[in-house]
């Protein structure tokens, strides 16, 4: 009985661990993608490929989304 309880607890811990890991991996990927986009926009503004107005608008949207991703909050 006790052995079965331990096995069940280990299984539950593994499932919870996998879900938490998945949450962190997805969060990391989103943030990395946004970071790359932000760097690309900043460089394009510096060398004149993007106008200041468009660059600023994109950076503002990217930053808002980065904050939403850091919180891990949908919507």
């Amino acid at each position: 009985m006790r052995a079965e309880l331990v096995v069940a607890m280990v299984l539950v811990a593994m499932v919870v661990g996998a879900l938490v890991l998945r949450w962190f991996v997805r969060r990391f990927r989103r943030l990395r993608r946004l970071e790359r986009a932000t760097v690309g926009v900043s460089r394009a503004m510096d060398d004149g490929r993007l106008t200041a107005a468009t660059g600023e608008a994109l950076l503002q949207h990217l930053d808002g989304l980065r904050r939403a991703c850091s919180r891990g909050r949908e919507g």
């Binding site: 997805r26 989103r30 993608r33 946004l34 790359r36 986009a37 690309g40 926009v41 460089r43 394009a44 490929r49 993007l50 106008t51 107005a53 468009t54 600023e56 608008a57 994109l58 949207h61 990217l62 989304l65 939403a68 991703c69 891990g72 909050r73 949908e74 919507g75």
Partner: protein, 362 residues
């Protein structure tokens, strides 16, 4: 012209972007103005030719399928990205289709993954100097407003309709297709993926409030799976149980065309659209339409539909009741819809698309 296209969404996607991509490829493949079309799959790196043929039908010899490698991309004149993804290395020129900016205007209607993928790919397209091709004037205006893009930097070419969406169908075949799905006449049709932006909650409220006004009509909902709609899905199941609603999942275009043709009305009270392809499909099939008076929908429907405030349940219900109770209005909207839908068929749009390609390739 040697043209590359990201065709991955035509294989792996459902919904508007996948339909757009399929019809884009079909139209380009049929045009003598393109010497060679190279299909790429940006989602998976490479897909087999027979997978594309399974989805698009037999492809002529001028269509090749290539892996996503530098040598293939650099040999192109132009790369068209219709699926919110840019190739990792450079073709000389790019055209990027902007389907909508609802990830910015209606963020609460999207998942974080959607928002990140869309915004990152739009940013990348702009950084790499791609020509932005909006699917409607409304989407162009949104891009100008939200991204501060110069007005003349955004082109507009609407999505092309599959010619299978036409008013003349085989009556017996249509009846058989509908019967197989458990759909009986008369009915009102709604087509959209299950996601918050499509406003299914208010549509179901409106339908429930109509009660006996709808007579023997059923509400037939064709809805591919979307996201964050567990409550709506459960409600649809309950209403299916009491017989007032028929819920159908993803179906092929020919079966969908049959359902449009047999419907007494089509209702699409979406909160925001880049274009609103089902509105054009319904009009092309001669089905009178009720849709929203905001976003791109008035532009697509023009005066060929009843336009309603999508946040006003009573207004949606009143428009449905009015349409079901007035045969002459239905006939009028049907005729106007058929006329309006003509501008969305490939013969009208392919020349406009090539003009965009020509300017982008300069």
């Amino acid at each position: 012209m040697r043209l590359g296209i990201d065709a991955g969404r035509a294989l792996h996607g459902r919904g508007g972007v996948a339909t757009y991509t399929r019809e884009l490829i079909r139209s380009l493949v049929g045009s003598p103005r393109v010497d060679e079309v190279i299909l790429f799959d940006l989602d998976r790196g490479w897909s087999r030719r027979d997978a594309f043929e399974g989805e698009l039908g037999p492809l002529p010899t001028k269509v090749a399928v290539a892996p996503l490698v530098r040598s293939e991309l650099e040999g192109l004149n132009l790369f068209h990205a219709p699926g919110y993804a840019m190739p990792p290395v450079g073709a000389p020129r790019h055209v990027f289709t902007l389907h909508d900016l609802t990830v910015l205007s209606h963020p609460h209607c999207h998942t974080l993954d959607n928002r990140v993928r869309s915004l990152a790919s739009v940013s990348e397209a702009l950084v790499r100097g791609a020509t932005i091709l909006a699917v409607s004037k409304a989407t162009k205006e949104e891009a100008v407003r939200l991204l501060a893009l110069p007005v003349d930097s955004v082109e507009v070419v609407p999505p092309m309709l599959n010619p299978i969406f036409r008013v003349a169908g085989d009556h017996d075949a249509d009846a058989t297709a509908a019967a197989r799905l458990g759909v009986r006449q008369p009915y009102v049709l709604a087509v959209a993926s299950l996601e918050p932006r499509k406003n299914f909650g208010r549509l179901l409220d409106a339908w429930s409030s109509l009660g006996v006004t709808t007579g023997a009509h059923q509400l037939v909902v064709v809805a591919a799976e979307g996201w964050r709609q567990g409550r709506i899905r459960r409600r649809l199941e309950r209403m299916t149980g009491d017989g007032s609603v028929v819920k159908i999942g993803h179906i092929s275009d020919d079966v969908l065309a049959a359902l449009y043709r047999r419907a007494n009305a089509f209702v699409f009270p979406s909160l925001a659209e880049g274009f609103g392809l089902p509105v054009a499909e319904a009009m092309a099939c001669g089905t009178p339409v009720v849709t929203s008076k905001i976003s791109s929908m008035p532009e697509v429907a023009a005066d060929a539909a009843l336009l309603v405030d999508p946040e006003d349940v009573d207004e949606i219900a009143a428009a449905i009741a009015r349409l079901l109770g007035d045969q002459s209005l239905r006939r009028h909207l049907r005729d106007r819809g058929l006329e309006q839908a003509r501008i969305f068929f490939p013969e009208a749009l392919v020349p406009r698309l090539f003009e965009v390609y020509r300017r982008a390739a300069l």
